[in-house]
């Protein structure tokens, strides 16, 4: 349905009792959202509240008391109750008027919950609580009608509220005020009240306030309304009341009906979140559970139902679909619906958003069970924080100035504590709830907070915080988890969690749907283990630069700066031995999977002393001056450095091959080695390196008796390499697109400079819609890649093609890679779950577009 059709007029269809609209062929254009919700509830075959919809075309005429009277008569016959009469249990029957639009809309008039009171007299027969609730409800209804239907100034109505605190005493002055300042007296006849209520709602919907709300939601200015008239029973009996039930637990996402209920009548238009828990409802929990399961299946969303209960049992009176569930609810629901056979695995994968995956893998405090809980309160602002206890703002500011994170611990906060709250990493308060000053301000500043930790005692004079047996001093380290509301003694470690059971299931289904392989960029055994735990099928990029840093830096410097052949050879041998250890650890973690090891790619200056003063000797100092580069990223780097120092790459592959022999013999695993030469732009660069690497391979074989199997390939980082892909493919068994450099060089962008200085302006002026370093450029860089893919496959049809830039973890870039027919994407270990889902989305999208195979 398009926005334009919401405002199309539909024919006069009369009054529509709840549950009779669909069979008459009516839809949301005339019944609006609430009318449709009641149709759905009635369709379950269970009792729904007694009521009727005044459909869109009939609303303008409903401001006539005659029409209102007809609706009341119909409602009396539907409900079997006399309006303004009493029920068997002594409840007073009144009317509730509400409004809805053809689409979910904010800015609707409030429900008028107390229409039909004869001569506005609150009867004596009711108990004190019912009279009090009824009084408040009547006042709200009366003020709304007086202001919007009779035009009585709101300010005058507000004054009345002050002058007559008691509602019953306020009735007569209110009526006098309406006579004096209103267009007509406050209606005494019930049908006139209903008609005036309708008029007030229409006026309010046409007010600037409601127009602003529609504008904010991009809804048509002339969006129409339907009205809904229902009976309300004012009662005080414990066996009569109202409540709501939510289908899922928001924290776990699981199907676990929960909610709250209240005795007495539904006097507010809004849901009351606190009340008796659903489990205490004497009767009907089983029915609600069934209803929620049925509705979830039918609507394919998490749902909330409103109900009333009384001597005759439960009646459903409202329904809400959760339009934007959180990640846990969304993934759990998707899995449940597929398992129930309502959807299937592909639909479950399709309905899961990459944003949800990122949300589920957000860093959280990692609990090992050894933590010492200090005190618990309400998780008031999410996130975890660790810091030194500061008992006032001044202390927190002092810690900040000293560069130490502080945790502000106070009874409660006031505006006076703002400096401390800004300075602190997190906030812990003794008093207050999730809507306290501390909580609102902490969330506003993005600081984690736990509030209302009433189990602790703060002694500012002694400088201590005590909870149970633990006495902490100002300055001690404390941690808080703003999600669970627990504070811990000492430092909590914060890590990314593994996938939840629902997400694990979904990602398994995603794996079944995708064609693209997903590998990880991992340089160490630890990273590789994380990646494989997250579902990586191998390592698509192992950078070896870090193997040349730290205590190995002097060795590399000697290789680059030495004028002594023996010294260079000794340094290379030492490097080969050191790298053998690094590779062993990595290969062991990789197991039998493929692993692409990129030989040294860093610019030369990263290994050289910063100034001549740091050189080991005079010769090094002279060389340093000689080797200075104007633009190191485009200078002697990658294969170019290896050609200037021919011992470098052989030393690396010697370490790699030896490590492979080690893990095969010691651990019986056979990683599939792929040796990758970086920054090639001339095919002969690759050929020369291949010769060197094969020689080392033979040397290791003759020494160990094992001919280490390996594939050779190259990165495609320069436009020239992409253009020469067919020539490269004559030698290379795989190509990996290094799209960070390829993007820089295709645009001629220096990434750091451009991102820092220019990108914002370009995005603002609409020259770009996203950073080409975050989302692969489908107009330029991807076209170059497509050319390379076609050329390479024309020479070597089974050549393996992948991508190892940051784009490998970006959903829109992954979709481009799927379209190009690459074999795999490689991304950071943390983004592996996201890449698995995105690869499945890309495949499903292609299949649906009819271009997939």
């Amino acid at each position: 349905m398009t926005p334009a059709s919401w405002t199309q007029p539909v024919d006069d269809v009369g009054l529509v009792p709840f549950g009779s609209g669909l069979e008459r062929g009516l839809d949301e254009r005339s019944l609006c959202t609430r009318g449709i919700q009641l149709e759905i509830l009635a369709g379950l075959g269970l009792p729904v509240g007694a009521g009727l919809t005044i459909p869109v075309p009939n609303v303008p005429g409903f401001t006539s008391p005659d029409r209102a009277k007809a609706a009341m008569n119909l409602l009396e016959s539907i409900s079997g109750r006399q309006i303004s009469g009493t029920t068997d249990t002594g409840g007073l029957v009144l009317l509730r008027l509400s409004a809805s639009a053809p689409v979910e809309a904010a800015g609707l008039p409030p429900d008028l919950v107390c229409l039909g009171l004869r001569r506005s007299i609150i009867p004596d027969g009711l108990g004190a609580k019912a009279r009090s609730d009824l009084g408040s409800a009547w006042w709200k209804t009366a003020v709304f009608i007086a202001e919007h239907a009779l035009g009585v100034p709101g300010e005058d109505l507000g004054t009345l509220d002050f002058d007559y605190p008691d509602v019953i005493e306020r009735v007569e002055p209110f009526k006098r005020l309406c006579e004096e300042k209103g267009s007509s007296p406050f209606p005494s006849k019930r049908s006139e009240q209903v008609a005036a209520g309708a008029k007030a709602m229409i006026e309010r919907w046409n007010s600037p306030r409601a127009a602003r709300a529609r504008k904010k939601q991009n809804l048509p200015p002339d969006l129409p309304l339907a009205l809904h008239l229902e009976t309300v029973v004012v009662t005080e009996h414990d066996d009569e009341g109202h409540g709501f039930a939510v289908s899922r637990d928001m924290a776990s996402g699981h199907f676990a009906p929960n909610g709250a209920f209240h005795h007495g009548f539904r006097w507010s238009g809004e849901r009351q979140p606190t009340g008796h828990p659903l489990s205490e409802l004497p009767d009907g929990v089983e029915m609600l559970t069934g209803v929620l399961a049925e509705l979830e299946g039918r609507l394919r969303s998490s749902v909330i139902v409103d109900f009333e209960y009384g001597p005759d049992g439960l009646a459903l009176v409202g329904l809400e679909q959760m339009r934007r569930p959180n990640a846990r609810v969304a993934t759990s629901l998707a899995v449940d619906l597929a398992i129930r056979g309502i959807t299937d695995e592909v639909e479950a994968v399709r309905s899961t958003s990459p944003v949800h995956v990122l949300e589920l893998l957000h860093p959280q405090p990692k609990l090992t069970g050894d933590e010492i809980p200090f005190v618990s309160g309400l998780g008031a602002s999410p996130g975890a924080a660790v810091g030194r206890i500061a008992l006032d703002s001044e202390a927190a500011v002092e810690y900040m100035e000293a560069g130490e994170p502080a945790l502000l611990v106070m009874s409660e906060t006031t505006p006076g504590d703002l400096p401390g709250m800004m300075a602190a990493a997190g906030i812990l308060t003794l008093n207050g709830g999730s809507a306290s000053h501390a909580a609102v301000v902490a969330r506003g500043m993005g600081r984690p907070a736990v509030c209302g930790a009433s189990g602790m005692r703060i002694d500012r004079e002694a400088g201590t915080v005590t909870a149970g047996e633990h006495v902490l001093n100002a300055g001690d380290i404390l941690s808080i988890d703003g999600a669970t509301g627990i504070a811990y003694v000492g430092e909590l470690s914060i890590e990314r969690p593994g996938p939840s059971p629902s997400l694990t299931t979904l990602l398994g289904w995603a794996d079944d749907s995708r064609r693209l392989g997903v590998r990880a960029n991992a340089d160490t055994g630890v990273d590789a283990t994380t990646a494989i735990d997250n579902g990586a099928e191998g390592i698509g990029l192992c950078r070896t630069e870090h193997q040349f840093l730290g205590d190995r830096l002097p060795l590399v410097r000697r290789v680059i700066l030495s004028h002594d052949f023996d010294a260079e050879a000794a340094a290379l041998a030492a490097l080969a031995d050191a790298q053998r250890e690094d590779f062993r650890e990595l290969l062991l973690a990789v197991g039998d999977r493929p692993v692409t090891v990129r030989l040294l790619d860093a610019p030369m200056h990263e290994f050289l002393p910063a100034t001549a003063a740091d050189a080991e000797d005079e010769h090094q100092a002279r060389m340093l001056e000689h080797l200075h580069e104007e633009n190191p990223m485009l200078g002697v780097r990658g294969v170019r450095l290896a050609l200037m120092h021919e011992g470098l790459y052989p030393a690396q592959v010697e370490g790699l091959f030896n490590a492979w022999v080690d893990v095969v013999s010691e651990h019986d695993v056979r990683p599939e080695l792929e040796v990758m030469v970086p920054l090639v732009s001339i095919p002969e660069e690759l050929v020369m390196m291949l010769r060197l690497i094969r020689r080392v391979n033979q040397e290791v074989a003759s020494r160990t008796g094992v001919l280490v199997p390996f594939k050779i390939g190259t990165m495609v980082e320069t436009p020239r390499a992409a253009l020469m892909a067919d020539k490269l493919a004559q030698w290379a068994e795989f190509l990996s697109f290094g799209t960070n450099d390829l993007t820089q060089l295709t645009y001629g962008f220096s990434r750091d400079d451009v991102e820092r200085r220019m990108l914002g302006t370009y995005l603002e002026k609409g020259l770009m819609t996203a950073s080409p370093f975050a989302e692969l450029d489908d107009q330029g860089v991807a076209v170059l890649m497509e050319y390379a893919v076609t050329k390479a496959r024309s020479v070597r049809p089974d050549i393996k093609l992948g991508i190892c830039g940051e784009h490998g973890g970006d959903p829109s870039s992954i979709a481009i890679c799927e379209g190009l027919g690459l074999d795999y994407v490689s991304c950071s270990p943390q983004r592996i779950p996201l890449a698995r889902l995105a690869a499945a989305h890309a495949r499903v999208g292609l299949d649906e577009a009819g271009t997939g195979s």
């Binding site: 409601a210 709300a213 006076g416 609102v440």
Partner: protein, 204 residues
Amino acid sequence: MTDVVLANDERDALVTMVVRGMARGEATAEQQALADAGLILIKGPIMMPTPAGTTFVAEQLRLPDDAPERERIMATFHRFLPVNRQLRDLCTAWQVRPDGSVNDHADENYDADIRDRLDDIDDSVAPLLKRFTEDIPRMAGYRSQLTESLAKLDDGDDSWLASPLKDSYHTVWMHIHQELLLTIGMSRKEDEELEERLVSGAGA
């Protein structure tokens, strides 16, 4: 503390700082004088009142127990607290969605509903503010500050509802609340307990 004598400008500057909790930027001449008198603390770009400064302002603003307007102010304050709760709940909803996730302001329907409800709160506080101002004239400026923050919010900058880093609707509201507490001489703890009693219908 009663022996501290301040020029009017200095006194006003100190009251403003205690109500707001802090100030940022270069110290004015008045602020420097307050720092020299040990009433405020200047730490880099941040200025905040010292306990002595806070006590001084509390003594200056607090109405005597037998002040004739006290009863009227208290009666209005009792009406203010339930509205105060509504505002804090609304700010909470603005920051956190009902399922506990952070409101990323991508759901126009959700945000528009909260903005719409803010009008109810603003309508409720308007007559209260008018009454307070009759007895506490220095509070006259708050009405226009609230209106200004609403205008900026409606111009499309979401931070004007609840950001503590600017004079957002919530920030101005907190200043109003703080000034009332100083005037009445009520602690934050007593205030929270009273609000809870009023909201739960247990009476004052």
